[in-house]
Symmetry: C2
DNA sequence: CCAATGTCAGCATAACTGACATCA
DNA sequence: CTGATGTCAGTTGTGCTGACATTG
């Protein structure tokens, strides 16, 4: 088997966290929240955020964000309320249940980071986090060719 | 916007590489190869590998690997040949075109790592790679509950 | 008979584009 | 009118499970 490259290792690392988190949440009888839906929670302001703004923060199409938000509203973790400043906007915010589930998930992730530190060492985890928190800038455009 | 967590940062980092790689390949007129399909190349032995073995290495179902392999065969990057040791097995291996595309992609990824080093520093990239190359072990099973 | 393999078929999720009504 | 927003509809890609024939 050829040697793995960096992007694949990054994907595998993400999968390590995601599968463990999903298993832990399911073991506690929580409603299943997909990775894409988790991104919504991380992009939400406490005061509420529009779908279009969420999409920009998540780097996906407005329609993709809409789909994730709609699913979360349906299972009672998010709710909509009209924006007092503009009738065409609607603010998305968490319900009490949504905040509870969010807190549970955050706690699990923190626990997973500790477990990881126990396996590969706290310095390695710190190095990983440090490198990922830096500003990578936008993905490089085609380096050469027709500019 | 709440603070991003580690798994999301890992996903964003993977996306940084993947989108840049896809843009670069497309700019050169190469056939589009998805992330899932790239995983197949990384899991392939030079002498050929069965679909079932690929699936185990990639951590996906046999059927998922089959689908990716089939798509790559259809566009001429992989081929099948019977296994001399067992009639029920078929070895999957790269065509000449497949090896060429693989080499191009590897070169692009190496270039991207250099660009990244220029942005966040070579030590940060080395730290990232180092932490990801360690053995994380299997994703933790639900820590408590009904074992 | 049992297990592994390759394959087909169906389903769920999540991204995309296109289209359109509404409203600042 | 123009542009931003929310939404519906359709398509694609990728994973899954179930099922089944073949073969060791």
């Amino acid at each position: 088997m050829a040697e793995q490259n960096l992007p694949q290792r990054l994907g595998a690392a993400r999968h390590w966290f995601e599968s463990a988190l999903a298993a832990a949440m399911e073991a506690e009888g929580e409603q299943p929240v997909s990775y894409a839906q988790q991104l919504v929670f991380a992009a939400l302001d406490p005061e509420g955020t529009t779908v279009a703004e969420l999409a920009r923060r998540m780097g996906v199409a407005r329609q993709s964000a809409h789909q994730a938000v709609h699913a979360l509203i349906k299972i009672g973790l998010l709710r909509q309320e009209p924006d007092p400043d503009s009738a065409r906007r609607r603010r998305i915010l968490m319900t009490a249940e949504g905040r509870r589930v969010d807190a549970v998930a955050r706690a699990h992730i923190a626990g997973l980071e500790e477990i990881l530190a126990g396996r590969i060492g706290a310095p390695a985890v710190a190095a990983l986090t440090g490198a990922l928190c830096l500003d990578w800038g936008p993905p490089p455009r085609p380096p050469v060719a027709g500019s």
